[in-house]
Homo-oligomer: 200 residues x 4
Amino acid sequence: MPKTNAEKQENIIKAAGIVFSQKGFHQARMDEIAEAAGVAKGTLYYNYSSKSKLFAATVTCGLNRIMAAIEAELASDLPFLDHLRAIVATIIRLYISNKEVTRIYANEMSSGIEDEVRSEIKAVREQFTAFVEAQLQTGQEKGYLAPLPSHLSAVAVIGIIDALCSHHLEHPDLHSPDELTDTVFTILSSGLARNRQAGE
Amino acid sequence: MPKTNAEKQENIIKAAGIVFSQKGFHQARMDEIAEAAGVAKGTLYYNYSSKSKLFAATVTCGLNRIMAAIEAELASDLPFLDHLRAIVATIIRLYISNKEVTRIYANEMSSGIEDEVRSEIKAVREQFTAFVEAQLQTGQEKGYLAPLPSHLSAVAVIGIIDALCSHHLEHPDLHSPDELTDTVFTILSSGLARNRQAGE
Amino acid sequence: MPKTNAEKQENIIKAAGIVFSQKGFHQARMDEIAEAAGVAKGTLYYNYSSKSKLFAATVTCGLNRIMAAIEAELASDLPFLDHLRAIVATIIRLYISNKEVTRIYANEMSSGIEDEVRSEIKAVREQFTAFVEAQLQTGQEKGYLAPLPSHLSAVAVIGIIDALCSHHLEHPDLHSPDELTDTVFTILSSGLARNRQAGE
Amino acid sequence: MPKTNAEKQENIIKAAGIVFSQKGFHQARMDEIAEAAGVAKGTLYYNYSSKSKLFAATVTCGLNRIMAAIEAELASDLPFLDHLRAIVATIIRLYISNKEVTRIYANEMSSGIEDEVRSEIKAVREQFTAFVEAQLQTGQEKGYLAPLPSHLSAVAVIGIIDALCSHHLEHPDLHSPDELTDTVFTILSSGLARNRQAGE
DNA sequence: TATGAATGAGTATTCATTCAT
DNA sequence: TATGAATGAATACTCATTCAT
């Protein structure tokens, strides 16, 4: 019994993740994904009706894994700011360790994908935004966060993390993940401005 | 006087900007750009040796225009935080009003473009990052900004603005540009956290 | 039993031979070859990665068939001059009956073909020259042939046959293949000059 | 007055000769010929109505020059065999020193050229064959040459010379022009066979 | 369930030719 | 007479998708 069914599916998604993240949606060829997964091209179509659908499955699966991991780690009772820092650190760590999905997520929501599939991916993305927004709203309700429009804040938070992680993936040697976390957390907690609490 | 030479070139770049931003690099067809520009396909190739080169010219030209506009507007002597808010407002306004370039810039740096061209575009992007970083460093030196790694800060600032503007371009009715500016500025100046100076 | 795999390949090579010989390498269109072979254009590329590669396969395959046929016919113990005449007659007959390949061979070694492919064809051509040269060397060693540089002689022999066969294919009614054979053999055995053995 | 009219025309033909011989008819680009001739592309069309016409002019002009040179050199009263050797030596020398034209002549009579132009070139070629045939007929009439079909003989003679010269242009170091001449003359005068007059 | 040979619509690119100047 | 910017028809090649086995 060399491979169970689920293992094959996983193989395909894993191979697709690698190839899509290296080449991007349009440059990735089904031939290449099939070869990377160790199956025939027909098998790809036997399991996913089109390239777009395979792409959607790849991204959805990856983001779901990330979200599940975040939720698993964050069932905490930390004070809010510690909670926020933990969220940021976790997202950054998972982004970086799932770099295939991250690259896709950050770069390939672009044009040229079947609308139906685009919608599916957008939906997952918005699910993620909503997750972050929920955390922020909790913080607002508890009085820890300023009453900014929470959806915009969530978008901004994800935007910062996306940008820094993309930068890190391109230049891995310039900054450590910890530095990224510190930077993001500092900006989120007190902004760029010098802390005026210091009495200035 | 039908068209001067420069006008024709501008027409092509303008048409390319519109088509590339609507369809993305790979989905855009040279036929369509030619038709949109009102020239024959051969003319495109007479002026730009390949689709990639035309793409590079389009993005470079657009970003340069944005950077020039920003610099022109910001020769100011405002107090630093006002200066920062002005920068943010200006970038957001120009991003939104140059939405063709912005969409390309935000979505199409991805894979599948000739390396040479990719490098050119990356260079322009980094030029822009460097411009923002320079402003932040000035603020640090004057003591207005906390001593965060200035390059990461610049990346983060651009990441926030990108994310919010992309969000705005997809959902133009949810928030006004002013709200965007406020959100970004608030985050940058004091973070998401409720201002603790207030004594709470 | 519609077609075996090998039959399809043969169909393609055969169709390619006809089209290449009629139109020449550059004028031949892949569409036309596909149609002539009764397959889709993609099938051509599925089997041969480029037009040049298909061309190389066509020529190589044709010349190999000719050489095999010559060798099969010439396993003889004839006296040398009869052997020489038999070779000449055989080559001429095969050249004419494989006129597609001959036309290609004679006319299309020219410029504008990928270097790699050109080399492959040249190699086959030189194999053929070497084959003729070997026959001539045997004749020299046995004392039947004058000690001319054998490689030049082989080139010359092929040159004569090429020229006469090309001429014959353009003007089939002027001379019979037998006349061609006689002319070539006479020149090779005693030159153009009146036979001085006759005592003059 | 930098250039006379005729000089410009000559420049164009000369440049065309070089480019056509290097690239072949189809691979040669009018742009490149124009640049090599130091004129604008329009000027080519001002003087020759099409690429094919320019090609025809180039070949015709080159072959005419060769034929004129041969005739000029051969106004001799040598004994016939010496005359034949002189013709051969002259043709070989001129072939090699006009290698641009020779390469075209040998390789590019192939398919894919406008029929009208092809005919023109064929005509020049046949003029050349006729010239050689005339020399051979004189030899036959004077009893020096065997009564072979003189047209076939002429074709064969040119075939040998073509083949050896092409070979020489590809491998210039293997044999000297004198060796070529000796080989051709020996074959023509007494064939490849060992001279049996010697009584052996 | 899995395969991979076959398909053919889709497109970037080339280059001889034209013509306003 | 000479130019060179503009043209657009022509074509090799790609690759997602299908389907007989």
